[in-house]
Amino acid sequence: MKDSAPPLLAVQELRTWFALRKWGFLRAGTVHAVDGVSFELARGEAVAIVGESGCGKSSLARTLLGLDRPGAGEIVIDGTPLGTMDKAALHRLRASIGYVQQDPYAALPPFMDVATILAEPLRIHGLPHGRDRLTAALEEVGLTPAAEVLEKFPHMLSGGQQQRVVIARALILEPSLIIADEPVSMLDASVSAGILRLLRRIQQSRSLTLLFITHNLATVRHFADRIFVMYAGRFVETGPTEALLDTPQHPYTRALLAAVADPDPENADHDRPVPDSEPPSLINPPAGCRFHPRCPQAIPGLCDREAPPGFQPRPGQTGWCWLHR
């Protein structure tokens, strides 16, 4: 952001590639899951990364969490480059990043009760894990009576309650950054609104940085300060939430917005203006702008040849598109 305080997280030209092994008659290749992404996250801001499956948004999250190794580029957390950290520093780093997974049921060990699940990170980092600490963690995420919930096993909780336990676990080491990967896509609408509100409330009250990954632009208006739109391993547009939703610049952002059906009986009367095609392969991504094969406004000879430059229609909003050269 604009102020001079150093960012919590700075990512430069990050690339996460996966080599495909040659297997029988299948050809080997490289999946360019994250392919040259740069951004900064300020302390206390909530940012949503939006894109379709296979666009690299989860790979980006996993790279930041240290679960996938970056192939190239630099990640600087709190002033320290990730690449220079020794084992002890990495161990400390993990305590400062919380992770909220997509499927709460898969994220919680079925044979542990909630008390054990919440105590585990504290135990691993050699911190006190008394009953009071665990009770406070559950109360912060609205799971009461906490004493009762601590005794339960994950299968005894509803999906929404399970996701609250996952959030409590992600918060228990008091991290400065929370990465939430599709935190509500497995939940019913009536439950999701509560989970999103909870994340937003905690992010604001604790001044946390929240990186929220989603495929659905409708969920971000109230829950993110900025949005990064990702397509085929790269950002195509970034900007403040209101500006990006109300004056989208990139044809892909516009297509994603057009695809969202708000509940409205008039939806049945007309078709939705979306490209009738599929995202490209990340093994051989298209040359030039990666969206050009699906773009209704692609300029032949330009968009299919050269990667588009960034342009700034207003401060803080950037689109990578040839239409605005």
Binding site: S190, A261, P263, P265, E278
Partner: protein, 321 residues
């Protein structure tokens, strides 16, 4: 007024479980006209998939009760033997696209052959004619006939889901049941498939039952909405009314919880959980979570019929008893 294509009365489907009999579908009644799209909208565990199973007689082993009256174009479906149901109804007159059906395609059979299967196996159509109709069915759902010779793994998820849709349409059934047909897909792919369904609905007289938890998607196709909660239909209304002013408080709460892109109101969560289906409360099943609960709600609510066509299982709209 002509007779409806499908008339369902008091349809129940109960399962035996260790904890007792689970009333997944509890005396559900509704009608569906020719060419109409009826959406069953509800959240996990409300009984909407059990409804699809009950209509197509795809019953589990732990069946405890399967009863009610189902009439399809005058045929009494409940009176048919399993054998006649399989031969005369399932897939020839009523077909289904199940959730994540795209992953159930046979990996070693070419796409064209699979789409033609309902004809070659069910109707005994000669192969050449069946393949020709398969090519037409694929084109209708936006898949080029060039894909006939491909295998499922060569197609993307969205393409495979279209192939499954072509299979469901090839016998020209009177009714197609779509159970969460797009929920495993991306937004753009989802919108593309909904566009295909809208076109098919406009161009043919096929009736659709769309089962979904997604309020936005449901408004893409619906003529009527049946809102389900805890094994019952709690509201049955024309889509025009439902998506603006639902009659049941659960409908209001569900609408308020949906995040919207083109609206600045913040989505409101609905507190609490649905009641257990093993021993549901005697009165209104939504009452424990309802902001507008009052004394009568301890007793089973009557079906209130409003002037604009909305019907709700709710004491708020007055009612007898």
């Amino acid at each position: 007024m002509s007779a409806p294509l499908l008339a369902v009365e008091d349809l129940s489907l109960h399962y035996r479980t260790e904890a007792g009999v689970l009333k997944a579908l509890d005396r559900v009644s509704f009608e569906l006209d020719r060419g109409e799209a009826l959406v069953f909208l509800g959240e996990s565990g409300c009984g909407k998939t059990s409804l699809a199973r009950a209509l197509l007689r795809l019953l589990p082993r732990n069946l405890a009760e399967y009863s009610g009256r189902v009439s399809l174009g005058g045929t009494d479906l409940m009176a048919l033997s399993d054998e006649r149901f399989r031969r005369e109804i399932r897939w020839s007159r009523v077909s289904i696209v199940m959730q994540a059906a795209m992953n159930a395609l046979n990996p070693v059979v070419r796409v064209g052959e699979q789409v033609a299967e309902p004809l070659t196996i069910h109707a005994g159509t000669p192969r050449a004619a069946a393949m020709e109709r398969a090519a037409r069915a694929l084109t209708r759902v936006g898949v080029s006939a060039d894909f006939m010779d491909r295998y499922p793994f060569e197609l993307s998820g969205g393409m495979r889901q279209r192939v499954v849709l072509a299979m469901a349409l090839i016998t020209e059934p009177e009714l197609v049941i779509l159970d969460e047909p797009t929920s495993a897909l991306d937004l753009l792919t989802q919108a593309g498939i909904m566009n295909v369904l809208k076109r098919i609905k406009r161009e043919s007289g096929t009736s659709f039952i769309l089962i979904t938890h997604d309020v936005g998607t449901s408004s893409e196709l619906a003529d009527h909405v049946a809102l389900m909660y805890a094994g019952q239909i709690v509201e049955r209304s024309p889509a025009r009314q439902f998506f603006r002013t639902p009659a049941h408080p659960y409908g209001e709460a569900l609408m308020a919880s949906v995040p919207r892109l083109r609206d600045r109101t913040e989505p409101q969560p609905l507190e609490g959980t649905p009641p257990p289906l093993i021993d549901p409360p005697a009165g209104c099943r939504f009452a424990p979570r309802c902001a507008r609960r009052f004394a009568p709600c301890d007793r089973p609510p009557p079906e209130a019929r409003l002037d604009d066509g909305r019907r709700a299982l709710c004491w708020l709209h007055g009612g007898a008893a």
